[in-house]
């Protein structure tokens, strides 16, 4: 049985298994190809570790690959990489994650964003008829309250809540002073740096219910982006949900 036949079809990063094969590692070291998950799965340790990548033997093999001599171009390439001035935040600069909810672009200070997760099912809660709360989602094993930012900000033409629960593209997980929540977003364009003077005041004349949640308006790549006031957002939700 050749190890190639047992390789997974999709390999995203060179795993020790692949590297070991390419490096022509000797047999005793690549037990994952013989008795592990890429082999006949007869390894006595397999029930304990479930997958070879959890096993210290596999980790040690991975570390051993780093014992190779650095290639010629390695030092030069990394030297020029680290020679570039870093893109660290300058004094007075702030940073926010920009995303789209419904038709509007919004931003949340990066400090408050814990992670941007893939879509997952949001389970609705019985006896919760509030528009804002969509339900609970499992984020890394922790049940997290999911809200609809669109409903909270009083946006028009929002999809039905059931569509929001199942059809969103990303789930943004935010946390502030110990409270955690998540909300679906259609698009997350990344982080933007801005200076305090770039933040324009929200026009008072609009008077929409959601203007109170916004700290101001930013212009990013030709789009007007509403920067959410984290304190107000979490304080309001605290009152609403508890």
């Amino acid at each position: 049985m050749s190890p190639e036949n047992n390789m997974p079809l999709v390999v995203q990063a060179p795993t020790p298994a692949v590297l070991a094969r390419d490096e022509g590692m000797s047999d005793p070291q690549d037990c994952w190809n013989r008795v592990g998950v890429f082999g006949d799965k007869t390894c006595a340790e397999l029930p304990r570790f479930v997958q070879c990548r959890n096993c210290p033997v596999y980790a040690t093999a991975g570390t051993h690959l780093l014992q190779r001599k650095a290639p010629d171009s390695y030092l030069r390439e990394w030297t020029s990489h680290y020679g570039e001035p870093g893109s660290t935040t300058k004094p007075g600069e702030r940073c926010a994650v920009v995303f789209k909810v419904g038709a509007e672009w919004l931003a949340l200070p990066t400090m408050a964003v814990q992670e941007v997760a893939e879509r997952r099912r949001i389970h609705s809660l019985p006896h919760r008829s509030q528009e804002t709360v969509l339900g609970l989602a499992n984020v890394r094993g922790e049940l997290t309250i999911c809200i609809s930012l669109g409903h909270l900000l009083g946006m028009d033409q929002l999809p039905p809540r059931e569509i929001l629960r199942t059809q969103h593209r990303r789930l943004v997980v935010a946390s502030w002073s110990g409270n955690r929540l998540a909300f679906p977003a259609d698009d997350v364009s990344g982080t933007e740096r801005f200076r305090a003077q770039d933040l324009k005041a929200t026009p008072v004349s609009i008077g929409t219910p959601h203007s109170g949640f916004l700290q101001g308006i930013l212009e990013c790549r030709g789009q007007l982006v509403g920067l959410i006031d984290v304190e107000t957002l979490f304080a309001t939700l605290d009152q609403d949900l508890m």
């Binding site: 570390t63 014992q67 990394w78």
Partner: protein
């Protein structure tokens, strides 16, 4: 507490993760003429010159091997005026981190610990790990080596460089 592990020769050492700014791959360094042994040169760290010490050369007298696992640990260090500076440490087999309590490292009683490699030791089943403490080791021996270069060029019988007018 989180510790970053590395090797000097065959033995394992640790630094506290909180004193580490970044771990970079091995880089090409600008040589410093007449540098004391151990000072490998200056690295270009995002446009800043950072003195870099080869721990293997410093402790054992032979330079660290050019392997993929040999990396530069950039630490924060105070110079003699108390100003915070960056210092690079070339360390072999910088591939692991360890979560332990500070109390798990116990003093071996090797004096007050102000000398290099007199820090407390963790007797782990895989072999002892010695802690290199920021305030003692980094900020005395290393600081002398890196930041007081012109005055302390005389080591191991080498003649100090004559001061240039």
């Amino acid at each position: 507490m989180l510790f970053l592990l590395f090797h000097i020769g065959q033995e394992r050492y640790a630094v506290e993760a909180k004193s580490v700014v970044e771990v970079t791959p091995l880089l090409e360094l600008k040589q410093v003429p007449q540098a004391p042994p151990g000072l490998a040169g200056l690295m270009n760290y995002r446009g800043r010159p950072v003195p870099t010490i080869d721990l293997s050369q410093f402790a054992l007298g032979k330079p660290a091997e050019e392997k993929l696992s040999t990396r530069i640990i950039i630490v924060n260090c105070r110079d003699e005026s108390g100003e915070s500076r960056l210092l690079g440490l070339i360390a072999e087999q910088t591939t692991e981190i360890l979560r332990k309590n500070r109390e798990d490292f116990s003093s071996a009683g090797l004096g007050s610990g102000v000398r290099p490699f007199h820090g407390p030791v963790l007797m782990s089943p895989e072999g002892p790990i010695q802690l290199i403490e920021e305030e003692n080791f980094l900020c005395n021996s290393m600081r002398k080596l890196a930041f007081e270069l012109p005055m302390t060029a005389s080591r191991d019988g080498e003649t100090p460089a004559p001061a240039r007018a």
